[in-house]
């Protein structure tokens, strides 16, 4: 029994040290990527190619999910609000939920599983097939040439995707409540406009999505670059990217929300 406790404690301690060590390595890698970003920012066509893979290819899932999330919000919001006779406030509910929380968070979660996992798998496979080593032997730094463009493409795409998600959601809510149920169109927009503040809601939502973009892509490129060069190494890294990013997104969202909306309404 005592032996089990000892080994259990040792296991936990080992995990904690391992985690702290990995965090240190990841942070160092993150700064290395920033340091070597100069070349890729100067050669912007490298980033454009990655923008296609991270941004454009995520568009469909973002648009469709945004539309459905907005439609569900509209439907549920209407059901609840009409009990109090204030169904005209449904626009406010849809817009505030999307702009403040659901837009940045859900699109970041989708982005992590769509683009983040792809980035990890691609970099991991390039490492496993010695493409990164070959690049290094050709005197081209793989962090500057392969990792940095993917990182910046992710950071750029994320706020755009979140904004598109929110707009599609607002449109989905409009579709359900105004077009199908018959809430007054003027009330939908005007209530929304009087309640949503540019500085506090839209800018804060935008800042959130920027943070999420940095977090998700940093995790994705690190896991890919750090993956053991084997088939199960890459698949494990891909899973870790999705799990870790999802947790980081939700944790970061809480922290950012606490900072941004503290003392306000």
């Amino acid at each position: 029994m005592f032996k089990h406790i000892v080994s259990g404690t040792r296991h936990i301690g080992h995990q904690v040290i391992e985690g702290a060590w990995r965090l240190g390595v990841a942070t160092r890698f993150f700064f290395l990527v920033l340091l070597k970003s100069g070349t890729s920012l100067r050669r912007f066509n490298l980033i454009i190619r990655e923008l296609y893979f991270t941004g454009v290819l995520s568009l469909i899932i973002i648009i469709v999910s945004g539309l459905f999330v907005g439609m569900v919000l509209g439907l549920q919001g209407y059901e609840t609000l009409q009990k109090y006779g204030s169904e005209s406030a449904v626009g406010t509910l849809v817009a505030l939920s999307l702009v403040r929380e659901l837009g940045p968070v859900v699109s970041a979660l989708l982005f992590a599983s769509r683009a983040g996992s792809a980035i990890t798998a691609e970099i991991g496979l390039m490492k496993a097939t010695e493409q990164l080593a070959a690049m290094g032997m050709m005197a081209v730094d793989p962090i500057a040439r392969v990792v940095a463009p993917r990182f910046w493409a992710g950071v750029i795409s994320m706020p755009f995707l979140a904004a598109i998600f929110s707009v599609m959601g607002v449109f989905g809510g409009y579709l359900v409540t105004v077009v199908f149920i018959g809430v007054d169109e003027g009330a939908y927009w005007s209530q929304m406009q009087s309640a949503v503040d540019f500085r506090f809601d839209i800018v804060n939502g935008f800042i959130k999505s920027c943070f999420f973009g940095i977090a998700v892509t940093a995790i994705a490129v690190f896991e890919g670059y750090d993956a053991p060069p084997t088939a199960e190494g890459v698949s494990g890294a891909t899973t870790r990217t999705v799990v870790t990013s999802s947790l980081v997104i939700l944790g970061l969202d809480f922290i950012l929300t606490a900072f941004m909306f503290r003392g306000v309404s």
Binding site: T129, E130, Q131, A133, A134, M137, M138, A139, V140, R145
Partner: protein, 270 residues
Amino acid sequence: MASDNLIEIKNLNFSYDTRAILKGIDMTMRRGQVVAIMGGSGSGKTTLLRLIGGALQPSSGYAKFAGQVIHQLNRDALFKLRRKMGMLFQFGALFTDLSVFDNVAFQMREHTNLPEAMIRDLVLMKLHAVGLRGAHHLMPNELSGGMARRVALARSIALDPMLIMYDEPFTGLDPISLSVIGNLIRRLTDALGMTSIVVTHDVQESLKIVDYVYFIADGVIAAEGTPQQVRDSIAPFVHQFVHGEEDGPVPFHYPARQYRKDLNLEETVV
């Protein structure tokens, strides 16, 4: 650069943590030579290539490239040095997201400011040298193993290096592709006046094309000589390796207890 030796390795030691991989290696390779490094799997051949490429730091001793001690160079100097080296990885390591043409053009675009028209001509010349000029528009996943390795060879000679290192260039190839690659290594080395280091365990193929052979076993040079000397060698290790005998100085069995003991046969015998 008075000396004719491109690579000089003196008393080179390397260990991962406490496990010694290379113990006191001495080698010299002259310009224009094709040198083979042979040895069993896990004998430290690839480690040696990585040390010459500057990807690893030796524990003691040194490797010199054209008079420069490789591990003492800083990053920029090392990267400058690497432009004079080419390396052919085991399975080619072509960039899977670039076409054959772009793979070969990669280094020219990264390291030179040549106009695109000139790059095109150069790339087609390099591809022509390996017989794949017609395949320049294909993607790496459309190539066979042998073709991929020829493209990788064209890529590694893109900037006319002084040295090319081949890591297991013959692995997994059919006999035709195998002799094609072997002859290409010899022909390109002679035509471009460079030096080639071939790490391999394909004895018969490499003995046909190389000038000098080093055998590495357990981190030390077990034998060396010209192909003729190697073929005639009566040293038991070399003999076993060259003729591919199952048992010899390199035993078939992993060290173990006595067979009879392991099967608990001792008692019944007694």
